[in-house]
């Protein structure tokens, strides 16, 4: 049975072109970017080139790109780096985030709440943050606003430009987590009024272990890691050159293919949504239009998500769910709850995320398999039988 992978929002396979680009940097061009000799220079050159590619993609200067080990690290660096940089006795103690951020923002904000006040902005039923809500919550002591560009779970794309404009006017730093959007939809940090931006390699067919934080020139951060002073002193660690070279190559491919690939995925996604919503008592989560080209998220009445995922897996189809039963905390997805779903409703959620290697045939197979699986689960359940 040929397996069907529809969980590209979780991670993506490394594109063969990327792998090929990375290959020499393991055993041949293995130098340390900090070394003075030719091996070091070679590595340093590759690093600089990669930085330029990433900077070009988001319309930044190369010196504004800090490579990290992951998006989680980038988000931690943005939050803690700014928070720890507040002068002693500073009254600036307030952070604003949306209520549907990724866990690494939620948990970082929670950890900082021992010394900072954190306001979570609600979202509407489609998962949209209202920029006016952000404006209202900004206080004289606010240091940072962070709203994700696009949701990892429901795919909703936020009005980043507008929120950024408000933050700029109010002189508050604005950070956006673009882990799910980089390479899929255009990003321009200048037009979008962004001060800090997080992105990740493994979501765009690059390797795991590389992320970046864009830090607008002039913004001071305190590093999380102290040591040899790599990455402008902001991220000491021997530079992971192969991963970063892969990240840059992945970016190049995305940039070149973005327009056509976006159109292709939207077509497949909309076909999927149309097909799935034919199932009785099924609903779409997230924004009907304003969503990532590759994200579809549903919930089915009287269906538990973990069972759904495992039944799909038995048919060779890999997706994900926000059901409590599938989480290690046994709690329903806070993102779906923020949309106004009840816990029992969020148990029945299904996230399908498409990608570069998704074919129409695969989408057809899912559309065909799903009704039967949903029916079977409902048959075993005390609820929802016809």
């Amino acid at each position: 049975m040929k397996k069907i992978y529809l969980d590209y929002a979780a991670t993506t396979p490394v594109d063969k072109r990327v792998l090929k680009e990375m290959q020499p940097y393991f055993s041949e061009k293995f130098g340390n970017t900090m070394s003075l000799h030719s091996f070091g220079q070679e590595a340093k050159f590759a690093l600089d080139q990669s930085r330029q590619v990433l900077a070009d993609l988001i319309n930044a200067n190369p010196n504004e790109i800090i490579f990290t080990g992951s998006a989680t690290e980038s988000n931690n660096l943005a939050f803690k780096g700014l928070a720890f940089n507040m002068p002693k006795g500073s009254r600036a103690r307030h952070i604003i985030i949306s209520s549907i951020e990724h866990a690494c923002i939620m948990e970082t904000a929670k950890w900082l709440s021992r010394g900072f006040r954190v306001t979570k902005i609600p979202v509407d039923k489609y998962g949209m943050v209202n920029p006016k809500d952000v404006e209202r919550e900004i206080r004289p002591d606010t240091i940072l606003v962070s709203v994700m560009h696009a949701s990892n779970e429901i795919g909703t794309i936020q009005n980043i430009t507008e929120i950024g404009k408000i933050c700029r006017e109010k002189k508050v730093y604005f950070h956006t987590d673009a882990s799910q959007s980089l390479g899929k939809i255009p990003i321009d940090v200048k037009k979008m009024n962004v001060d800090l931006l997080t992105a990740s390699s493994h979501k765009i067919y690059g390797p795991k272990g590389a992320g970046l934080l864009y830090v607008r020139e002039g913004i001071k951060l305190v590093p999380l890691l102290h040591g040899g002073g790599q990455e402008n002193g902001l991220r000491s660690s021997t530079v992971n050159v192969p991963a970063i070279v892969g990240f840059a190559k992945a970016t190049e491919i995305c940039k070149k293919e973005m327009a056509a690939e976006g159109k292709r995925l939207v077509k497949l996604r909309d076909k999927l949504i149309k097909g799935v919503l034919k199932i009785e008592n099924s609903h779409l989560n997230g924004h009907p239009k304003n969503r990532l080209p590759n994200n579809a998220n549903f919930w089915f009445e009287f269906v538990e998500g973990e069972s759904l995922i495992m039944r799909l897996d038995l048919e060779g189809i890999a997706c994900s769910t926000g059901s409590a039963c599938s989480s290690f905390k046994l709690e329903p997805s806070y993102v779906l709850m923020a949309l106004g779903l009840k816990p029992q409703e969020s148990h029945g959620s299904l996230r399908v995320s498409l990608g570069r290697f998704t074919t129409e045939k695969e989408i057809n197979q899912l559309i065909k398999a799903l009704p039967k699986i949903v029916r079977n689960i409902r048959q075993i359940s005390p609820y929802g039988k016809n």
């Binding site: 009287f302 069972s307 495992m310 038995l314 046994l330 148990h347 005390p382 609820y383």
Partner: protein, 167 residues
């Protein structure tokens, strides 16, 4: 790389997955002699057990037929199915001796975080038998009464805990 036991999804044993894939004895029993309803849809697991009781040659009550209806995860469906296999044909006395450990063992193990599903299955059986005693107006043994009270209490605690999420 160290070789680890290849369990399905890295989470469930092959026996759990097999049971989940082909559950036994699901569905309703019309005119059941006893029904046990446990779990809470807000938490994500609801289990209903139906039993049909008859008398054997020694005139003891035994479980002639048993069926389940479950809303829940892989573990909840597997434990539901396995308890029907374990108690079908057993006398009520013997059926009530089944523990959560018997269920976990029969499934070749469960992830720790899913142990509560095995408890749910035992509770559902207790409640079904209790319901049978009530319906037939038989004298309820002290042990069964106690178990029923504990289940009732924990149900109330859970309902209270999830009240914040509203209905």
């Amino acid at each position: 790389m160290a070789k680890t036991k290849n369990t399905c999804a890295g989470l469930y044993t092959p026996k759990v997955m097999e049971t989940f894939k082909n559950p036994h004895n699901y569905g309703k029993i019309k005119n059941a002699d006893g029904i046990g309803k446990v779990g809470n849809i807000v938490c994500g697991d609801v289990m209903w057990l139906y039993i049909k009781v008859a008398q054997n040659k020694k005139n003891e009550d035994f479980i002639k037929d048993i069926r389940f209806e479950t809303f829940g995860c892989v573990a909840a469906i597997s434990t539901s199915s396995i308890i029907t296999d374990l108690v079908k044909g057993k006398t009520i006395n013997d059926a009530l001796k089944i523990t959560k450990d018997n269920i976990i063992e029969s499934l070749g193990g469960l992830p720790k975080i899913k142990y509560h599903c095995s408890v749910l299955a035992v509770d559902a059986l207790v409640e079904a038998v209790y319901d049978y005693f009530l319906k037939t107006k038989k004298e309820i043994p002290a042990g069964l009464e106690k178990k029923h009270e504990i289940i009732k209490k924990s149900k109330e605690i859970i309902e209270k805990r999830y009240e914040k999420w509203g209905k």
